[in-house]
């Protein structure tokens, strides 16, 4: 992600210079000005879709619907009521954002091709509504709109070109701000692994809606510029084909980030004009181009431009260092009372159909202790972890975290209380670097919002620098600096686990759930892990561990809870549990 953003930040000024140069050189060339003006409008809408598709991994085949909303708002203001252009534009963009929020809510229910179909239907519904509304011109829409006035300037020809491109570059810069900020991190975690994103405290549903609203707003803005510059708004031009065209631009240029969308929009803007006399052939070529890009160059044109990343040398982890530096104290945040019990389960039961995976489990953890949860495979340990984290609904029982009842909460809310977790199969964000993973881990304690990210306010920039600084500190504490720039998917197995631990502790949790942290580690790595866990405990973190490595469990746990077939069969000090006949029977079977 960092590579893409860096490339974007470099390419955007280059595009700005080219646009300015071409504006001066070709200002007399009506064909060029027209094609380039269209390209700017397309670019605005395409950037929105690029973020949606490439950064959040949500598809929309209904962007023309938002475009139409923007275009109609402006056309209505200028034609019927002679209100100024900018008022229509503001109304149009606001409406498009609101409808985007609504579509975002709908989109939460779907994935992949279902989402594509639902958004396609959305676009067609909007188009149909405009088609049917007599007050908006019905099927013939608005024609011969007056030239919009922006102060003394009439928006047409070269002025229109300059205006459209200023808007497009502004949108590009703002979107880049957004992606570099906390919002961009949230988007990227959703694209990589929604569940892991929730568990580190990203409200994934909210951010998906934000993405749809933002993409809708940009498409609406593009429509608002389109209406006065083209002078004609008819429903037939604002349907599926336009939506697919936006998709085409994004795929052609390269989804994700800003520059790909702009390059794709420029390409289609000029191909549209150049292929004017080859109607139908041109569209067939577009279709073939899309298929070819998907097959041959999924990164799009911009992906071809970018130099292939130098792969970080597979450096060995310096496993000797352990978590010893006393960092700032891990204080429970937003917890009812400071003396509260970190975790308390009462009668927790989870059924899958007829299978009872967790059966009436109750226990409470004392602050600053290390407890191990053990049991044979299929005993319900991971299911219990999921229940504590808010993944899936409980069938019965209550869970209290830090004295607060969290039953029925979404995972990100529970995480925000100060709960960290790792997964049995280390769910890292593969397309993000190790440092980005750890920065994302601190998402819940970073405090900037959408607006300050978008505008790139100094406060947001400072918060970002702090977050990166904190991320580096966390990596240093675990001896992982040498892999900071490596993509998580390229990590060796032992490092993956360690990075996940780093991500989980980046936000200084006071309750940490670790699912088989020692599995697959070599002897030296285990030793380091053991020291790290004890160091965390000594700093006041309450740990709950699922582990199969009995030597580790017996060495570090103050308490051991044994699950078998979803039930607690033993609970107590390690020594007592080890000799408990029920436990022996569960692990080894009984003679009778």
């Amino acid at each position: 992600m960092i590579d893409r953003l860096r490339a974007d930040a470099r390419i955007l000024p280059v595009i700005a210079v080219i646009v300015a140069l071409c504006g001066v050189l070709f200002h007399g060339d009506a064909t060029f000005v027209q094609a380039a003006t269209y390209a700017a409008m397309w670019a605005i809408a395409a950037i929105g879709l690029s973020l949606l598709l490439g950064n959040v991994n949500q598809i929309s085949l209904g962007q023309a619907g938002f475009f139409a909303i923007g275009a109609y708002a402006v056309a209505y203001c200028m034609d019927d009521t002679s209100l100024p252009f900018w008022l229509g534009a503001i109304v149009g963009i606001a409406l498009a954002s609101l409808v985007g929020i609504a579509l975002g809510f709908i989109a939460l229910r779907f994935r992949g091709h279902y989402l594509a179909m639902a958004t396609l239907a959305f676009g067609l519904i909007v188009q149909g509504l405009f088609h049917q509304t007599a007050a908006l011109g019905g099927a013939s829409g608005f024609t011969d709109l007056p030239i919009a006035k922006f102060g003394p300037l009439g928006l047409s020809g070269s002025v229109g070109y300059a205006f459209a491109w200023l808007a497009a570059l502004l949108v590009g810069a703002l979107s880049l701000n957004l992606l570099r900020g906390r919002t961009g991190t949230a988007f990227e975690t959703i694209r990589n692994d929604e569940l892991a994103a929730e568990v580190i405290g990203v409200p994934t549903r909210r951010y998906k809606i934000v993405a749809f609203a933002y993409a809708g707003a940009l498409a609406g803005a593009a429509g608002a510029i389109y209406a006065p510059l083209v002078g004609v708004v008819v429903p037939d031009a604002l349907g599926v084909i336009l939506s697919i065209n936006f998709l085409l631009m994004v795929v052609l240029g390269g989804a994700g980030g800003v520059s790909g969308a702009i390059v794709g929009a420029i390409a289609i803007g000029f191909l549209d004009v150049a292929g004017h006399q080859f109607e139908n052939w041109r569209e067939v070529a577009y279709g073939l181009l899309v298929i070819a890009i998907v097959v041959v160059a999924p990164g799009g044109l911009i992906g071809l431009l970018r130099r292939p990343r130098r792969r970080a040398a597979p450096a060995r982890s310096s496993a000797g260092r352990a978590l010893t530096e006393p960092s700032r104290p891990a204080e429970p945040r937003a917890v009812a009372s400071p003396a509260a019990i970190p975790l308390e389960l009462r009668g927790v039961t989870k059924r899958f159909g007829g299978l009872v995976a967790v059966d009436d489990v109750s226990f409470a953890l004392a602050p600053g202790t290390l407890t191990s949860l053990i049991g044979p495979n299929g005993a319900g340990k991971t299911t219990l972890f999921n229940a504590i984290c808010g993944i899936g609904r409980l069938s019965a029982g209550t869970i209290r975290v830090g004295g607060i009842t969290v039953t029925g909460w979404q995972p990100h809310r529970i995480a925000t209380l100060g709960v960290g977790r790792t997964f049995q199969n280390a769910r890292l964000f593969g397309e993000m670097t190790v440092l980005e993973n750890v920065v994302a881990g601190a998402f819940r304690i970073e405090r900037t919002g959408f607006a300050s990210d978008l505008l790139g306010l100094p406060a947001a920039a400072r918060a970002r620098r702090d977050a990166i600084e904190r991320g580096r500190e966390t990596l240093a504490r675990l001896g992982l600096e040498h892999v900071a720039g490596t993509y998580a998917k390229e990590l060796a197995f032992g490092d993956r686990r360690r990075v996940e631990l780093a991500r989980a502790i980046a936000a200084e949790p006071w309750l940490l759930l670790l699912d088989e942290p020692a599995a697959g580690l070599n002897a030296q790595e285990r030793e380091t892990l053991q020291r790290d866990l004890l160091a965390l405990r000594d700093r006041g973190v309450t740990l709950l561990l699922i582990e199969h490595d009995m030597r580790l469990v017996m060495a570090i746990s103050e308490r051991v809870t044994v699950l078998d077939f979803g039930r607690t069969i033993a609970d107590g000090a390690p020594g007592a549990v080890r000799s408990d006949p029920h436990v022996v029977a569960a692990y080894l079977g009984t003679a009778s």
């Binding site: 085949l61 091709h113 519904i125 088609h131």
Partner: protein, 292 residues
């Protein structure tokens, strides 16, 4: 009312075949084929050419269009779905959207096909031939459509339930790895599934052709209405797809008479959103079945 239902069942037969095609492709390849409607259009046009240029009878044109559909389907699988499959679900979805462009604008380039809808000759007599039962006028062509829909469904049922190849294809769709382990050529099974689905689309385009016309830019609308049918009935249930498609046809005709011809389509699409939100598994689908 009954008149509308007959008209709805007629167009609904086409949606049912599209829905069934979507179901087959989805089961076999996990791909939602946005181009399914375009293939319906192309199938009708192939039948038109066979009848006009080669003076084929309706039956021969139907067989010819269906076979051409099968071959097109094999090509579609080999040159679009399979290579794009490496790019993940989003990539294939986008590639089928690209295919929409190729077919939609491509067919307008073919001489005699053009971009405007044209009538296909009726299978017997003329399209206006009809008889009256209890006050309801039924076109002879509608009867052909119902009979030929049943023929296609019976043939598909027999193929998937009673033949070795049909069972192998179902096995490959259910559990590709397991099928491969018992010696089924999963790649071939996928190709044949897509071929069958596209053949079905072409078949539907041909039998509907005399009534709904062939050619033109209606493919996307057909694909979505087929999808609405599949969602209404249940995308994971073949019976549901057929019933859902027929229902969408009826609802469309009812809405057309209530709201006027041009308002009906947005209303049908709203039905899709409503259905997806309220009962995404469809009327016949199992709860919790493939939603993603």
């Amino acid at each position: 009312m009954l008149q509308l239902i007959v008209a709805g069942l007629t167009v609904g037969s086409g949606y049912a075949l599209v829905a069934l095609g979507l179901h087959i492709i989805l089961r076999a390849t996990r791909v939602m084929n946005f181009a399914q409607g375009e293939f319906t259009v192309i199938g009708g046009l192939i039948a038109l050419t066979l009848m006009q240029t080669f003076h084929a009878t309706s039956l021969l044109a139907l067989i010819g269009a269906t076979l051409c559909g099968f071959v097109l389907g094999l090509a579609f699988e080999r040159f679009v779905l399979r290579p794009a499959g490496r790019a993940g679900e989003m990539g294939v979805t986008i590639a089928t959207v690209g295919t929409v462009f190729v077919l939609l604008y491509g067919h307008a380039l073919v001489p005699d096909w053009g971009s405007l809808p044209q009538p296909l000759p009726a299978f017997t007599g003329s399209v206006s031939d009809a008889f009256v039962v209890g006050g309801v006028t039924i076109q002879i062509q509608s009867l052909w459509i119902f009979v030929l829909l049943l023929v296609a469904l019976a043939a598909l049922y027999a193929f998937f339930e009673c033949t070795y190849y049909g069972k192998a294809i179902r096995a490959a769709a259910n559990n590709p790895l397991g099928a491969r382990l018992v010696g089924i050529d999963v790649t071939a099974a996928r190709a044949v599934s897509v071929g069958l689905a596209i053949a079905l689309a072409a078949y539907g385009g041909t039998i509907l052709g005399p009534i709904t016309l062939v050619g033109g830019a209606g493919g996307v609308a057909i694909a979505i209405k087929g999808f609405v049918g599949a969602i209404v009935g249940g995308l994971d249930s073949p019976v549901g797809c057929v019933v859902g498609g027929l229902l969408v046809g009826i609802v469309e005709k009812l809405l057309q008479s209530l709201l006027g011809a041009s308002s009906a389509d947005p209303a049908v699409y709203s039905l899709l959103l409503l259905m997806l939100l309220v009962r995404p598994q469809g009327l016949f689908g199992a709860r919790g079945a493939l939603r993603d």
